[in-house]
């Protein structure tokens, strides 16, 4: 298992223009993340965790500093290069699942592989494997509207994992789920982390998630106030 640094953030600053002034969402952020980590950006609303997640995921651009993801400086990537980075190496999980309602579970999970232009047989195998990881083999032909919230989030995990990305970015993945479903989801992600050595980065303030994290980076008002590694995970693992 190669535990080299895959994300390096140096002196990151992010400003948002507000009227004639600016709002500084992130400042003086310095973080290194190794492959296979299961970490969380934790903090209250407005602390900057989603903004940081978006910058790591090349969905947003920094104002100052340097963000390197898998040896690529995301600050200088063109739109096409950023799209390529996301399509091959990054997976996203959202609070609201964002499944496409007109497509079946299979088709939703298949979408990232279509963009990678994988052959149909390979796609089918990969989608079936991903749905097996999340325990939804029997829902392959269902539409999202026919699934529970927990099942939808599991489909969204399968969609993020189907291409076996290096990094999964999960923004409040359990916010809409009850305790039982949250634990189920987190256990699934934990096992994928250990089996596939995928790096999971959460943006959360949900205690249910926090208890599973191996590393907690606390943000307050856009600054890292604490970065602790958890050696003894009490409940989840």
């Amino acid at each position: 298992m190669n535990n080299s640094i895959i994300i390096q953030i140096k002196n990151l600053k992010k400003d948002f223009p507000i009227g004639k002034g600016v709002f500084t969402a992130l400042q003086n952020i310095n973080i290194s993340i190794k492959a296979g980590e299961f970490l969380g950006l934790i903090g209250p609303s407005g602390s900057g965790k989603t903004t940081l997640l978006n910058i790591i995921g090349s969905l947003d651009i920094r104002t100052e500093g340097e963000v390197t993801v898998l040896d690529k400086n995301v600050s200088t990537l063109s739109q096409i290069e950023a799209a390529n980075l996301r399509s091959v190496y990054l997976g996203f999980i959202f609070q609201t699942y964002n499944l496409l309602p007109v497509y079946t579970v299979f088709e939703n999970v298949e979408l990232p592989l279509l963009l990678l232009k994988q052959p149909q047989a390979e796609r089918k195998k990969a989608v079936e494997d991903a749905l097996e990881w999340v325990g939804l083999e029997d829902k392959i032909n269902s539409r999202p509207a026919q699934l529970s919230g927990g099942e939808c989030q599991r489909v969204s995990i399968a969609r993020a994992m189907v291409k076996k990305p290096k990094i999964v970015l999960a923004d409040e993945p359990t916010a809409n789920l009850d305790a039982e479903n949250s634990h189920h989801i987190l256990k699934t992600m934990e096992s994928l982390n250990s089996e596939l050595n995928t790096t999971f980065i959460f943006a959360t303030h949900d205690e249910k998630v926090i208890q599973y994290l191996q590393r907690k980076i606390s943000l307050v008002d856009g600054q890292v106030v604490n970065d602790e590694k958890v050696t003894n995970i009490p409940i989840g693992g």
Partner: protein, 424 residues
């Protein structure tokens, strides 16, 4: 990926059915209006040409200035010679002389006293010469309601409406009271052998159709006629050629001081038909332009609404690494598909409606009782080759333009902003 997008398009009615319905309606209206306007204006021009203007028309200068009064005292002399020259110069054209005249038509009782009387709008045309095409030009045979066509001098046709008004039966003899071209009063007896209904309000109110030789005799117009009309082969108007002929003819009759100098005009020049023709040709363009603009705005908004609905889809497609350009192109491809489907359906519906009105027509006779123009009372659409494609490209174009505008908004948005809106 194409299969994936097609599946989405088929399953999401808001994305496919609604825009298709908008395009279908727009194209339908455009195609139908084109057929309708083409039909109405074509008929108007055709009827004017047949009954009044020809494709080119020769009158004296003075007659031309008061043509609406049919002033036969200003008629052309030596018409046979003029026609002979024209036939030699333009052998492919048909040249006819006509006399328009007004008067009273008197139906006597058994004692020879007036039983009924009414104003008539007379037309002297060549009904009896074997080589004459006037019966076909004026569509007299098909317009015959009762009786038969004139076979010998002294026989006339009158409009069916006039016959009923005067209570004149077929076989009745009536007397035309009018004035000669020299201003004297004239009375001439005619034998009614048939009644006609042309479907032209101005004619059907009180037309009297007589052979031109009889009219010349009645109005003392030997070798004279009010008008000489020229028709192109197959009765298809060619404005460029008409202008050339007019130019050539008028250059040989340049004595502008003489009221009786013949002057020729094209169909567009006489009867102010030029304005109608120009209007007809520009009207389709105006309709199509308005259609494209309105449909583009509607489809732009529909596209924006669709895109708002599809923020989730667009956001996730961006997140998993699809390029903005690819998403934009896929939206354009979808719009092409929608545009083609909507345009095909709209064209089919428009053509069906056009064909229906081409065959059935819309009878507006009750609204046209006092109309003096040579226009038909049953308005018909006309489906031409142009009708088949006139709505198709605007339909397609409007859909693509609408989607392009809607897509640009998405394209210019920062990816992270899309996500914020997506999460909202």
């Amino acid at each position: 990926m194409i299969k994936f997008l097609v599946k989405g398009l088929m399953r999401d009615r808001h994305r496919s059915l609604f825009p298709i319905i908008i395009v279908t309606i727009g194209v339908w209206i455009t195609v139908f209006l084109h057929a309708w306007i083409t039909g109405v204006f074509t008929d108007m021009v055709d009827y004017s040409a047949r009954f009044s203007t020809g494709h080119v028309k020769i009158m004296t200068r003075a007659y031309a200035e008061n043509a609406d009064q049919s002033p036969n005292d200003l008629a052309l002399f030596g018409v046979d010679e003029i026609i002979s020259k024209l036939q030699n110069t333009y052998p492919d054209m048909t040249w006819v002389k006509r006399i328009q005249f007004g008067g009273l038509f008197d139906i006597p009782d058994e004692n020879g006293d007036t039983r009924s009387q009414g104003p008539v709008m007379g037309m002297g045309v060549d009904l009896l010469s074997p080589e004459s095409q006037e019966i076909a030009t004026l569509n007299i045979e098909k317009s015959l309601v009762r009786g038969r066509l004139p076979r010998q001098p002294g026989e006339i046709l009158i409009s069916d409406e006039l016959a009923y008004r005067l209570e004149a039966e077929i076989g009745t003899e009536g007397t035309l009271l009018s004035s000669t071209m020299y201003g004297n009063m004239t009375m001439y007896n005619f034998h009614i052998v048939g009644t006609v209904n042309f479907g032209v309000a101005a004619m059907d109110r009180g037309a009297l159709i007589a052979d031109i030789t009889d009219v010349q005799e009645a109005l003392n117009m030997t070798d004279a006629a009010g008008e000489i009309l020229g028709y192109f082969k197959h009765r298809i108007y060619d404005d460029l050629r008409a202008q050339n002929i007019v130019e050539n003819f008028n250059s040989t009759y340049q004595n502008i001081d003489n009221d009786f100098t013949p002057v020729m005009g094209t169909l567009k020049e006489v009867g102010n038909l030029g304005e109608y023709l120009d209007y007809a040709s520009s009207f389709s363009g105006i309709i199509i332009s308005i259609f494209v603009i309105i449909m583009s705005i509607v489809l732009w908004n529909a596209g924006l609404l669709g895109a708002l609905r599809r923020y989730g889809e667009i956001g996730i497609r961006l997140a998993i690494g699809e390029r903005k350009g690819h998403i934009y192109r896929s939206m354009i491809y979808e719009s092409i598909f929608i545009g083609i489907v909507g345009s095909v359906i709209g064209t089919a519906l428009g053509l069906s409606a056009g064909y229906y009105l081409q065959i059935k027509g819309l009878d507006l006779s009750s609204l046209m009782k006092n109309v003096t123009m040579m226009t038909p009372v049953v308005f018909r659409a006309s489906v031409t080759t142009e009708t088949y494609y006139i709505g198709f490209f605007p339909g397609l174009l409007a859909t693509i333009i609408g989607t392009m505008f809607a897509g640009i908004g998405i394209f210019k948005r920062q990816t992270a902003e899309l996500f914020k809106e997506l999460e909202a």
